[in-house]
Amino acid sequence: MIRLPFILFFSALLFSAGVYGVLARRNAIMVLMAIELMLNAVNVNLVGFSAYLRDVTGQVFALFVIAVAAAEVGIGLAIVILLFRNRESINVDEVNLLKW
């Protein structure tokens, strides 16, 4: 027996850590890692509610989120490697060509 709020608090902490990482990191790969933390927080919520409501749908959606996360990391790292090849740096604050 696990109380639902404990799971939701754990998820909230993971999400906040991800928010901090996205805002504070300069390295693009670290930003991607922080995004993974946020996606994991969502998955924890989905699986927690799946157990709470005794319905398997939450787990199905958690699996979909995992698949989308894998695709996102693949594309993201390809872009990062391309960026490194062109700019010799993957700091996100130096990529400002489209900035107004």
Binding site: I7, R26, N27, I29, A71, S89
Partner: protein, 168 residues
């Protein structure tokens, strides 16, 4: 407090500490290794909740594939070390926003599911592999196909993006 709940608290503590270490580590490779610890503890939480299949998928795909991709990415790019080069100038704004998000979420969760409410406990739900397979291939076939197409597109896109264009 049951044994299951104590186990969850230990796993959640390990996962939370290493999640904070992921976003504060000064060495990028250490951050990736802390990410492994966080993902493993999340997977263990899934197993503890009775979500066996999702837990093993989490461990296989995240720890087995995504973290390896991250490590390859770190190896192929220059990985600077130190807080000044890894973090930008808005660090304290980031701390404030993240703390605000956390406090807001905790407040909302407390409002919606108060800790004292005895109905908020539940046993292990055996959402086993067969049930998940039936749900995916009976109710969620279309999203499943869309996901497989997305993965194919991402695969081709990643190859096209990262390929070296010698001719151009």
């Amino acid at each position: 407090m049951t044994a299951q709940e104590y186990a969850f608290l230990v796993l959640a503590a390990v996962g939370s500490v290493s999640a904070i270490a992921v976003v504060t580590a000064r060495n990028v490779v250490h951050a990736a290794l802390y990410l492994v610890v966080t993902l493993l503890s999340v997977g263990a939480v899934y197993l503890l909740l009775g979500a066996e299949f999702t837990g093993w998928v989490q461990i296989l795909i995240y720890v087995g594939a995504i973290v390896i991709l991250f490590l390859f990415g770190l190896m192929l790019t220059k990985a600077p070390i130190g807080r000044d080069t890894l973090d930008n100038q808005q660090r304290w704004v980031g701390v404030a926003v993240a703390a605000g998000v956390f406090v807001g979420l905790v407040y909302l969760i407390q409002q919606a599911w108060p800790m004292k409410d005895a109905q908020n406990t539940y046993g292990v739900y055996s959402g086993n592999t067969g049930v998940i397979g039936e749900a995916i291939f009976r109710s969620y076939v279309l999203p499943f196909e869309a996901i497989s197409f997305l993965l194919l597109a991402a695969l081709i896109g990643a190859i096209v993006l990262a390929r070296k264009d010698d001719g151009a």
